[in-house]
């Protein structure tokens, strides 16, 4: 990182100096664009089906629930908080709708009630985090279990099915006879709105300033608690919306729908350059990272790599996206003098990990061969 020296003799300038060409391309978003291009290139070489429009259209809607939940999650992470309960809230809302549907309630009434329940779920998180001032991690861990538990409570081991076609359109339909799924159009529309709110409004500025220094923001007369309450409420609403879209896409609801998606949502946001400690991030980056993850998974899927194995690549990407900048920083900070003790311990670790993988492949080979 470059350290700016303050020229104490000069008075302050109103305008920033023109940013250099290089600085512009150092933005994380470009890194993501690069990775997307690399991924597209590799996939095109490996499988001919990759650029098939129908395929892309079908697969894109698979990621829209993640996308919808990611939008408010970006807000929440930027303020330095987290919401682990989104996927459970999604399951709870969808199950509630399923329950009402099974009881014969009109589907639109049921959907409205589900949205209301999800929003209330978000409000509960918001209340506990902002008013009771409990750590977000613990609160949403609790509601993570609570909301998922309610989902099971509503439907048990049953599934709700038989939604009318007018409803399933929201998960399966395309807009204006194009190949663009409705859910994708909805996501893009909302992403633009969330992006504008984040980067172009006072509310967005407050989110960043809370994430950078909540105390100073509070001292400046910004209603920090209210803002946190709003974003958690928003998160609850979007999670239930995602739940409805999911139910419409599947044409049915099971209480375990979306289990584990909260981690995918957080991964997408963080890989998009949203700082898990708060204060930094952009909606564009988050959107690009969702695209990257989607394309990677799609490509790997076409190559018959199982979903869980794909997780290896996604997990590595997540860690490396933070690890590499931080290691580069610390190397440039400590200078070039190599510390022998740390070099030796690094080698020792390398050896241990190599031994681990030798064992990993050796022990596996025997069984796989015998199958």
């Amino acid at each position: 990182m470059s350290t700016h020296t303050v020229s104490e003799s000069n008075l302050i300038n109103e305008y920033a100096p023109k940013r250099s060409f290089l600085a512009f391309f150092q933005r994380w978003e470009w890194m993501l664009v690069g990775l997307i291009l690399v991924d597209v290139f590799i996939n095109m070489r490996l499988t001919p089906y990759f650029l098939d429009a129908r395929n892309l259209s079908r697969t894109s809607s698979d990621f829209m629930e993640i996308g919808l939940m990611m939008l408010p999650m970006v807000f929440i992470i930027i303020t330095g908080n987290i919401d682990l309960s989104v996927a459970s809230n999604m399951g709870m809302s969808a199950s509630f709708m399923g329950l009402l549907h099974n009881m014969g309630v009109n589907i639109w009434v049921a959907a409205g009630a589900a949205l209301l329940l999800g929003t209330l779920g978000g409000m509960l998180n918001g209340y506990l985090v902002s008013k009771v001032k409990l750590p977000a991690l613990v609160v949403t861990l609790g509601t993570y279990a609570f909301y998922r538990g309610l989902a099971y409570g509503f439907l048990g081991d049953q599934a709700a099915r038989g939604y009318p076609e007018a409803f399933t359109y929201f998960g399966q339909g395309k807009v204006f006879q194009t190949l663009i799924p409705f859910s994708v159009a909805l996501f893009l529309f909302l992403a633009v709105i969330f992006g504008l709110v984040l980067h172009r409004t006072t509310f967005g500025r407050y989110l960043f300033s809370i994430g950078n220094n909540e105390n100073a923001t509070n001292y400046s007369g910004i209603p920090v608690a209210k803002i946190k309450f709003i974003i958690y409420t928003l998160s609850g609403f979007m999670a239930s919306l995602a739940g409805l879209i999911l139910a419409a896409r599947f044409g049915s609801t099971r209480p375990d729908n979306g289990t584990g998606l909260e981690l995918a949502v957080i991964t997408a946001a963080v890989l998009g350059g949203v700082d898990i400690n708060g204060g930094k991030g952009s909606m564009l980056g988050a959107g690009l990272s969702l695209l990257l993850i989607g394309l990677m998974r799609f490509g790997m899927g076409l190559m018959n790599i199982q979903g869980q194995v794909q997780g290896i690549a996604i997990g590595m990407l997540l860690i490396l996206s933070i690890l590499i900048p931080s290691v580069v920083r610390s190397i440039s900070a400590t200078g070039k003098n190599i510390n022998w003790r740390s070099a030796i311990s690094a080698l020792a670790f390398l050896l241990i990990f190599i031994l681990f993988f030798v064992f990993f492949f050796w022990s596996r080979a025997a069984v796989i061969a015998s199958v």
């Binding site: 303050v6 000069n10 409004t201 100073a216």
Partner: protein
């Protein structure tokens, strides 16, 4: 062999490119109390941390008993017999008093298990010898600041060090506690321990120290025998010039009462606080660290609302429960801790200045970048902020410029009542004078200013009236004419003589 037990030669230390120590030399004899003196930011605390291995110098050598040494961490310096009390309180809130004293080197019984019985016995004896009464099993979290300081002192003493470094150990102690501490320090000196002592109270140095080394702006200035110097010499050496022009408070005819506080209290931090503040007046608030002054300011500003008592603003009774409300009522608060409460270090100057007034630069919530930029630029220019441009991050600026940004931010809210909490802590002399001049100007324009300060010259020079707080309540009230250094110190530090319930 040399006559020095510890010698530092040409110590240089940089933090992210900024030199905080420049070729500093320092030497310590066995059996002496050697004072380190300098303004805030002169580099004393950094020098201490270099001596104990918290920081490693970028250049320079350390000699212990004439032998070259280097410390990778405090564990190594401790093994060599160096112990320290650091300025920032470094207790572990969730550990108890006894363990805090011995943390990291708990006495071990056979088999490597901690000998808790010995630990508690030793801790008890140590505190007794310090004249401190504390529950050994109380968590550090629940101690008062003065008690925490005593535990820090006990920790340093428990090491039986040959070299004991004390960075402002007395900043929140009462006179009796200070006397106990000094008695112990003298005993150690007689036993041959070398002591490095840092304090802002000059009279303490004259009372205790043999030699003094003066530092200014990260550089070594001089080392003198205390019996050969006067108070004025020390101040001159420390500041680098005469300080007569520092406090330019003009006389202003005080106007209406704009803030009236009656029996204000907040459980656990202060009680029975009553005072009035008039237009055009600067009311100084003196006292030790932890006396509750900042808590009063926070209560008035609504950060930690009061639990009892009344606040009147311009004759109207108000209940202030949030900073938002306080700002609407025309209050502004420049907090004590700039990094934590005043600034958003990782955001640009412009966003810092516009934060409390951001709604003015927006139409229906949408930001008008140009309006914001122009307004914040003007504000920064008016405060003579020195920086490359208004997009520079606040954290990259010097302490003085950061304080100017905080001031610009609050003045842009057009307050009628300005609360300044340690307005010149950790900033350079030039900016300090500018801040004082600004305060004087604001007062003459009719602003009412409540100034909390731990620097007595600042209190005496700037205030029209002075309040003194001790242990959560007001103990004295002086007019400008009555106030003297001695009176304020005694009101701030006298130990409680009568129980008050």
């Amino acid at each position: 062999m040399t006559e020095y037990i510890l010698e530092l030669k040409n110590m240089t230390k940089r933090f992210s490119g900024v030199e905080v120590l420049h070729e500093v030399c320092f030497s310590l004899r066995p059996g002496e109390v050697h004072a380190l003196l300098g303004e805030n930011g002169a580099g004393k605390s950094t020098l201490v941390k270099v001596m104990t291995g918290v920081h490693q110098p970028d250049k320079g050598e350390i000699y212990l008993d004439g032998k070259f040494v280097s410390f990778a961490d405090t564990r190594e310096s401790r093994q060599m017999g160096i112990a320290a009390i650091y300025q920032e309180l470094s207790l572990f809130p969730d550990l108890d008093v006894a363990e805090n004293i011995f943390v990291g080197r708990q006495p071990l019984a056979a088999g490597g298990r901690i000998d808790w019985r010995k630990l508690y016995a030793d801790a008890g004896n140590l505190l007794e010898s310090l004249g401190v009464r504390l529950d050994l099993k109380q968590k550090a979290r629940s101690l008062s600041i003065a008690q925490q300081q005593m535990v820090e002192i006990a920790r340093a003493f428990s090491i039986n060090a040959r070299i004991l470094i004390m960075d402002e150990p007395t900043s929140s102690l009462t006179l009796n506690e200070v006397a106990d501490l000094f008695r112990l320090v003298r005993r150690l000196r007689e036993e041959g321990t070398a002591i490095v002592f840092i304090s802002h109270r000059l009279e303490e140095l004259f009372e205790l120290a043999d030699r003094v080394t003066i530092m200014r702006d990260g550089s070594y200035v001089d080392t003198r025998l205390l019996k050969d110097v006067t108070r004025d010499d020390l101040i001159r050496l420390m500041v680098g010039r005469t300080i007569t022009d520092l406090f330019p408070k003009q006389d202003v005819k005080s106007g209406e009462v704009v803030l009236k506080v009656e029996n204000l209290a907040r459980a656990g931090s202060f009680r029975d606080v009553s005072f009035e503040l008039r237009q055009g007046e600067i009311l100084g608030m003196a006292g030790l660290v932890g006396a509750g002054r900042t808590n009063v300011a926070r209560a008035i500003f609504g950060v930690e609302p009061a639990t009892a008592g009344k606040i009147q603003i311009a004759g109207r009774e108000v209940a202030i429960t949030s900073p938002q409300q306080a700002i609407k009522l025309g209050l502004a608060y420049v907090p004590e801790d700039r990094q934590l409460h005043g600034l958003i270090p990782a955001m640009p100057i412009t966003s810092n200045i516009s934060l409390p007034t951001l709604f003015k630069y927006a139409q229906r919530g949408w930001l008008q970048d140009k309006v914001e930029r122009k307004a914040t630029y003007d504000a920064a220019l008016q405060m003579e902020v020195r920086a490359n441009n208004i997009w520079q991050m606040a954290r990259e600026l010097s302490g003085g410029n950061q304080q100017k940004i905080v001031l610009a931010k609050w003045l842009s809210t057009k307050p009628r009542i300005l609360i300044l909490d340690e307005p010149t802590r950790g900033i350079d002399v030039g900016t300090k004078a500018a801040v004082h001049a600004l305060m004087s100007k604001l007062a003459s324009e009719g602003m009412a200013i409540l100034m909390i300060s731990s620097e007595l010259p600042e209190i005496l020079g700037m205030s029209d009236r002075v309040l003194v707080m001790r242990e959560g309540h007001i103990t004295a009230h002086f007019s400008r004419a009555e106030a003297t250094q001695e009176k304020i110190i005694s009101a701030a530090t006298q130990a409680v003589t009568s129980g008050s319930v």
